[in-house]
């Protein structure tokens, strides 16, 4: 009886995840950004800001294509769904529930955080964000507070991901599209 209920719950979760995964469609292949390497730590302030712009653009692309972070609960359900349910509902063509961009988005988030830390260590000038009254170095303080809670296992994971995503979504004031400056 109990195992029947678990199977049903698993089925509902897996179908939900499958539908959720449909919202993540890569318009072009999303590169997985690497963590900072020692040579990156020799960058000057201008280069750091440029690296942040690049990483933020990759992150924006993933978000714009429907990518989101995945909690450990979702991940467990996805693994269970892929292992048990997918061969049944997949029929002759095996289906696979992807991670909804979690891997590439996490890597982008982490690189941006490292770059912001480097920027602060170098005492570079802060830049404005789209968040009211917050520059990028103030945003880093908030981001670190979320990360501390996350690392300590305090708080709801989905809520911490929501906060992190909201902060990083507002990191950069993007210049409007127009003619390229000469």
């Amino acid at each position: 009886m109990g195992s029947h209920r678990i199977l049903k719950l698993n089925a509902v979760l897996s179908i939900g995840l499958l539908l959720g995964a449909c919202t993540y469609q890569q318009s072009l292949q999303h590169p997985k950004l690497p963590p900072l390497v020692p040579i990156d730590r020799t960058m000057n302030c201008r280069q750091i800001d440029l690296a942040i712009d690049r990483a933020d653009t990759v992150r924006w692309l993933i978000r714009d294509d429907g990518g989101s972070l995945e909690t450990s609960g979702h991940k467990a359900a996805r693994y269970a769904g892929n292992a048990v349910l997918t061969p049944i509902i997949g029929g002759p063509l095996p289906m696979y529930i992807g991670d909804g961009g979690n891997t590439v988005l996490s890597a982008a988030d982490e690189r941006i955080r490292e770059l912001l830390l480097l920027k602060r260590d170098r005492s570079c000038s802060p830049r404005a964000t789209t968040l009211q009254g917050m520059d990028d170095l103030t945003l880093l303080v908030e981001l670190e507070a979320v990360q501390v809670q996350f690392d300590a296992g305090r708080g709801e994971q989905s809520e911490l991901f929501r906060q992190r995503t909201k902060l990083l979504d507002g990191l950069r004031v993007v210049p409007s599209l127009g003619p390229t400056p000469p």
């Binding site: 072009l28 210049p175 390229t180």
Partner: protein
């Protein structure tokens, strides 16, 4: 014919990059005639055929736009290397094509050995 077709398909690889510097972009060895898809730090998506590679930028002509791309086909564009955040290029790799060709030939040979005949496509109408 089938082997040639499959090897051509098998030889095409699409690779996406997030160049961290101008030097890394140059190392990709993009050349005139390549069709590339890029996303710039101004969050613009573009697909274009490269007509010229300068020291610090690509010059090209936009191709038929993919979804979410705003510029029409046939427009001249210049993309500076320091504005590049994502670059995707599809290339024909001879090693991949050779591998695909070998796989097809091995399969066909095995089929011929087992059944004593070579598979053939039915004649067209």
């Amino acid at each position: 014919m089938l082997a040639v077709t499959l090897s051509l398909v098998g030889g095409c690889t699409t690779q996406s990059y997030a160049p961290a510097s101008d030097a890394v972009t140059r190392e990709l060895k993009i050349k005139a005639g390549d069709e590339i898809r890029v996303v710039t730090t101004r969050r613009e998506r573009l697909t274009f055929e490269v007509t010229e590679v300068r020291g610090d930028r690509f010059i090209g002509v936009t191709a038929k736009p993919h979804p979410k791309e705003l510029r029409p086909a046939g427009e001249t564009v210049e993309v500076a290397f320091d504005e590049l955040a994502v670059l995707e290029v599809t290339r024909f790799e001879t090693s991949g094509a050779a591998l695909a060709m070998a796989a097809v030939l091995v399969t066909v040979s095995a089929y011929a050995v087992v059944l004593g005949t070579v598979p053939a496509l039915p004649p067209g109408p």
